[in-house]
Every structure is written in C-alpha cells, then in structure tokens.
Subunit: 114 residues, 2 copies
C-alpha cells in the first residue's frame, strides 16, 4: 500500500476571492517559490503593481493583455511570460476571461493576499 | 506605438530533446526561477532523480503517475504538485502522454540539460 502524495496541490480547494474584484486566486507557498492559479472574469483589469519576486506566468485558457515595461502583448492559451522582480506590470482579461498559472520566487507572503 | 513584450516565453521555439528519451523540454531561466514545458510521449518513464531546487508542476494535458517520498499518485489535467528540494522523485507518463508545466527555484543550470 502506498500513501497519497502529501505535496499534491488542489487548486479548487484553495480557491478564494483574489485581491482584485472579479479575480479568483488559489495560492500555495513552498519554501523557495509560490504558485497560483487565477481565474479572471471577462475584461477584468488588474491595475499596475510591482513586487520584489520574479514572476512567471502561463495562460491556461482565455486571453490576457499584459502590459510591462512600456510593452503590451495579447497572450492566449499556451503563451507564457516572465516579469523581473520590482517591475511594474498590469493586465486585462480578454472577452472570454482568463485562466492563468503563475509562479513567484522568492515566495510571496500570504499577507499580500495572493 | 508600443514595443512587443521582451519577456514573452515562446515554448515552441525553445523546445529541444530532453534529458530522457521520449521527453521534449522547453526551458527558460530567470534570475530567481526556471520554468519549463515538457511533452512526454505515452508511457515514458522519468527515472528517480533529485535536485536542490524546489519544484512545482502542473499537468496541462494527458496524465502522469508521480512517485515522491514513498507516495504515488496519478495526476490529470489541472492537477498540480510541489516537490521539496533534494527529494527523490520519479514519474511515468500515462497512455496518452503528458504535457507538463514546471517551475524551479532557485533556477536550474542549463548544464543540467533541463
């Protein structure tokens, strides 16, 4: 008999209202990184913000317009990006919303609410 | 006029044969983390290995049997997991193969081949 994996991440059980209205956030914190699944309702705007952690993102479904360092790009399913630490960035979900996977290193504190 | 995002990650352009036969790996290295997309052919076995970096994984498509710290679990699309640093783990792709997104912190060196 084998035990179940104790490091399994169950996004649906972790899902909570996120820091921006219209965003559901499920976040897990490891020792060296945080990972999150975000579900953005259609056309939701995530205002410009910055954080010390480096950020990696990958669009799972829908689309996202990402604005970062004076650039803008519309991303669809399978598209991914890196945002360096301390770099202001903002995003707007597309007309069908967006499901987004992200990782942060170093980990982001739970007190940041995401 | 706005510039294109210079931190866009283009998996298809980064795809290379991985360290295990039957695995295609696309990897990008940031300052604080590495991210990778793996495409495993059906039933491919990734032998047990360990690395200092903490590892986060999320199954994009197909399925994966993950073995870690005496536990085993079959993961499908949308399932995710964390593997602590220096923890031996192994995996076997399901009968339809597996597309897997992973992040590592700290970043893994290109010399590790993944």
């Amino acid at each position: 008999m084998t035990a179940a994996l104790d490091t399994r991440v169950r996004w649906d059980e972790l899902a909570r209202p996120g820091p921006v209205a219209g965003v559901e956030a499920a976040t897990v914190h490891g020792a060296r990184l945080s990972a999150a699944r975000y579900v953005l309702e259609p056309n939701v705007v995530v205002p410009e913000h910055a954080h010390a952690s480096e950020e990696f993102g990958h669009v799972l479904a829908g689309s996202l317009e990402l604005r970062c360092a004076g650039a803008v790009e519309r991303l669809g399913p399978g598209d991914a990006f890196l945002v360096p630490g301390d770099t202001p960035h903002a995003a707007t979900a597309g007309p069908d919303g967006c499901e987004l996977l992200e990782c942060y290193a170093p980990p982001r504190g739970p007190k940041e609410g995401r």
